[in-house]
Subunit: 346 residues, 4 copies
């Protein structure tokens, strides 16, 4: 039985790790870390956990945590994890970091986009980018996994088959993404009040969102080419879900059939990526609550562009689900352990 | 392994049975019945089931079904199940009827409120009302279970502890209930379009809703007294969830502490009914996707009335979850098999 | 041209006064008061007002305000207005107070339910309760109007015809009310975040909500009898709208026709109260953005109770619209000036 | 007083024309046309109009209509208006067609994208494309106005300043649009039920939506160059609103300041197009219920692309509001008559 600790268990992503691990037969949570709710009952913060989680919230003392657990999930704002990690910690426990601290290999890029100094650049090289479908083997032996961002996961999985096939111009990619509001976190801000979000849609972080370099880096690896993208996220009046609509110029004449065969080939055997039937568009309602990403592609012969689409639950495959998928790989368990819940509809 | 068939698998409740049974280790679905989508892939009707359910929708031929399954769930409009049931069928399979056909013991009451003739009144007596927390022992040996209505389940569980204690005037009860829109079914009606439901709330079926006699009958059994209620359902712009706010006059002086102890006593050992801490009100967000009903009670000394409250997911404990709970009891399985999913929030 | 000032113009109710007065041909806003956004452009707080309101937010200096305006709307938390009012102020300007400070005639009741000391009890007697349909004549000559609460307005208008006719037992009334989230204000609280409110419904303030004594007082006046009620508000995942479902025992045999004729009689000639056709239930979608309250009644012969129903936009007739209606009366204008906007649907 | 008739008054766009004309001092509705609700009270179809509209729905007999009105709005599916129009009709009344029948000058393009034969191609040349900000002078003398589509209006206004300045490559434009559900109409379809739309977002009509050639044609006029675009609409869980996020390559080095000055210049003096302050993104919540389109632009020096953004109420500026704006122009009224309602928030 894997003993797990969660730093940041009282945010939306942290709570989703709790929900998933409660149904995981080989793991148990030993530490519910929180900054704001320390010494309070976890179930008083998230009442869905009443009678399921009797625990009290604890702090973020990583040294103490190391003595009690085998793995720590850090579901915290940027900058925290990199200040906590050190060789002694990593010699005792595995870390799955849901923040951006170890996702970007170039520390200057990280510091420039995030506007903070990195707390432990010496571990960036070791950290494995935890996109399971791509880095499965490296994850299995990792001590420190950088769990991918929600937008990057959905964007990358939507584009990957054509990027690695060399079929799209890697400087022509435009990603127009839409996210449910849980992605904005549980902080008390006027902009995230019900009456401000409901009955509205807006773009934000236009040409400046921090997930941009993360997506570019991963697509560069996949394609072997420098990748520069436009990435525009939007806030949608719904709780969960990310939808990606991505556009790119093709590099040569191509047919709809060939495009689809590249998707099918890229994700053959992948349980958590579903290539939809030809003509169907991903919709977030069909993946809610599950670890699936649904993808599809459409060729537009008028413009010689492809439209690449993906839908995902931002809290599951975009955060907690993928983190547990990483944990399974790191501990030698079947990758889908605890992750077989079907999407909840409606 | 229990072999299950579902008649009406392409409605919201039917689909929820599918979702739950996919995670049930001792049951498998052998028959996806449908009237509207016969011969179509089930996953083309509910795309969340893509790659999870490869089956094709079949019809409603109960005789054929009997040869392939051990239990049939009928998640269909009123009147169908009672025309299908007969002694031969019941000698071969067990039936869990999610319609109202066998919930009301007095056939005249049924026919008067539902406006249709009952197709097999000879089985009403045998049928067991499948409110597991109350009729557990009878359900274990039943061939035919009448799965309770969504409003009745939540109303009854909210009021039951005081009804059986004789503490409330059974002719003073007023139940003001609120339901998410999945309760209205998946039929294509203007009144249920997004733009008609969103940003609105309304009462419907005022003083005439068909769940009224069902609630009255069960509360009469619990209290040993004739019960006549006001029941007013409301349509709320959300997918899932039922909230009950019920009012009654107390029959004698009582304290908040005594009231709460009656709830705790009534539901001691019941996994799926959670008596919240004193002062907390049930909220549907904390039970979504789960089989829990959250209840609580508040005494108002100014008016000498109690306010009894309950929250539930109408598709789970109010339909599919309770149906599976009944199946577990009927087949001698642990009652919570396949039903341990924590509530999904947000 | 009436010169108006608004203290608390950067809350939802304050902003709604702005929206309405922008379309009012005989009034103009001279002072946009705010505590949090002082010196900021009003249109930077509410961007719907971009190019419509060029003004800068100012503070709450009532003495300065008095020199610039004819009427002040105080759309502020409880307790502020009563500390600002004095004889000199009232000799210069008229005040329409949207807080509860002057709604309740008994100062002890006010202080007990609101938990604060009243700042100027000497003006309570003079203040007129601004329910226009009831106190029209008194309002015309008032210096200080207590604009009714949102729940009280909708509750009172739903029950009034039967209360004044002596047809219902004034100690049997139960009011189950449902409100959109704008009623909770624009403060940054976790409980009002989109993901907390969306897909959920809950009761709050059970047996303790502060609007209770206000409703009781007004119904006592209408009926000439002591009135004690149960009042339970609920939070609904929508922006605007209040729905009231109220129950009471009848005091004598009565017919549906008689009940309806009492409503029609009570509201004959009232432009802003619409008595729906027999059998129709009020729905908030049909009044959004307008000053209408829709009401109807249903008799349940089984329980000898009436169900009285009302729907209203909480920000219009429940706050800003009624405030402007009061202003019109106080300044001798046609009562509906600036209030003729039809409901916005969908 | 202009006498107006509406064919298709019982759809969402038709009803919005009613709402707007009720507040229009120089127009009155004489004919509420409907196919589905003939002989029924208009207020029984849209209960917001109770006591505001006493009229009965009538049919679509254009000859009879011509005798009673000065102008007809056709808010009907594609293909109807073109079969009704003829020289005699146009000699008697003016027509504002909200369908696509007369929007596209090339009849083959129309017939190919819409899949129907055009009923009166001889009037296509005469018809004026009713984008008031662009074709104001022509509209003033038109007999037949083709009211622009919702997506085209918002897309065009977002892109127009750079298209006419020759600053963007007209074959590089990608328009990613998001619409509220009222754009899908009031037909009873499963796909538009509350539970299907709520908590989800999806693309539809990918690379095949019928508004594509309309946008291309208008942008070609504006730029003087052949324009080929990618246009992808998305369905958003909200009632109203369209948001456009459009991308294009710049044709030469350009600064953010220059871009913004082009927008300010293009819309100087235009009341219904608001160029937001630098750095702000349009949001649909700020335009709901009003005739405004909010636009802005952002330059991304990394990719040398511009992101052009617009927000609009699809039922107002995207349909009924623009139709009334056209009517005002055609009848020599001030263009903003009846259209001064501020956006309704929240």
């Amino acid at each position: 039985m894997i003993k797990a600790g969660i730093i940041g268990s009282t945010g939306y992503a942290g709570q989703e790790i709790v929900r998933i691990l409660l149904g995981h037969k080989d793991a148990e949570i030993k530490w519910y870390g929180s900054r704001s709710y320390i010494d309070k009952e976890y179930a008083s913060v998230f009442a869905n956990m009443f009678e399921l989680v009797p625990d009290i919230c604890r702090g973020e003392d990583l040294n103490a945590l190391c003595e009690e657990v085998d793995v720590v999930f850090t579901a915290t704002p940027q900058g925290l994890c990199s200040t906590l990690v050190n060789e002694e910690v990593l010699s005792k426990i595995k870390i799955i970091d849901l923040s951006a601290d170890f996702r970007i290999k170039d520390v200057e890029t990280y510091e420039s986009w995030y506007g903070i100094r990195h707390g432990s650049p010496e571990f960036i090289e070791e950290a494995v980018y935890g996109l399971c479908e791509i880095n499965r083997e490296k994850i299995k032996t990792a001590r420190l996994v950088a769990n991918p961002g929600c937008y990057p996961t959905c964007s990358f999985l939507s584009i990957y088959p054509l990027a690695r096939a060399g079929l799209i111009d890697m400087k022509s990619i435009i990603i127009d993404a839409k996210s449910g509001t849980s992605g904005a976190g549980r902080g008390a801000k006027v902009a995230n009040l019900f009456c401000e979000v409901n009955e509205s849609i807006k773009a934000y972080g236009v040409a400046s969102h921090r997930h941009t370099p993360e997506i570019e880096e991963q697509l560069s690896y996949a394609s072997g080419q420098e990748t520069i993208i436009n990435f525009t996220p939007h806030l949608v009046p719904m709780n969960r879900g990310i939808l990606v609509t991505a556009y790119a110029d093709v590099t040569r004449e191509v047919s709809q059939e060939e495009l689809r065969s590249l998707y099918e080939e890229a994700y053959r055997g992948e349980q958590f990526v579903r290539v939809l039937k030809n003509g169907l568009c991903p919709e977030t309602r069909w993946v809610e609550g599950s670890n699936y990403t649904d993808v599809n592609v459409k060729y537009d012969p008028r413009t010689r562009r492809v439209i690449m689409m993906g839908a995902m639950d931002n809290l599951v495959k975009g955060a907690a689900g993928q983190a547990v998928q990483n944990m399974n790989l790191m501990f030698g368990l079947p990758e889908n352990t605890g992750l077989m819940m079907p999407p909840v509809f409606p």
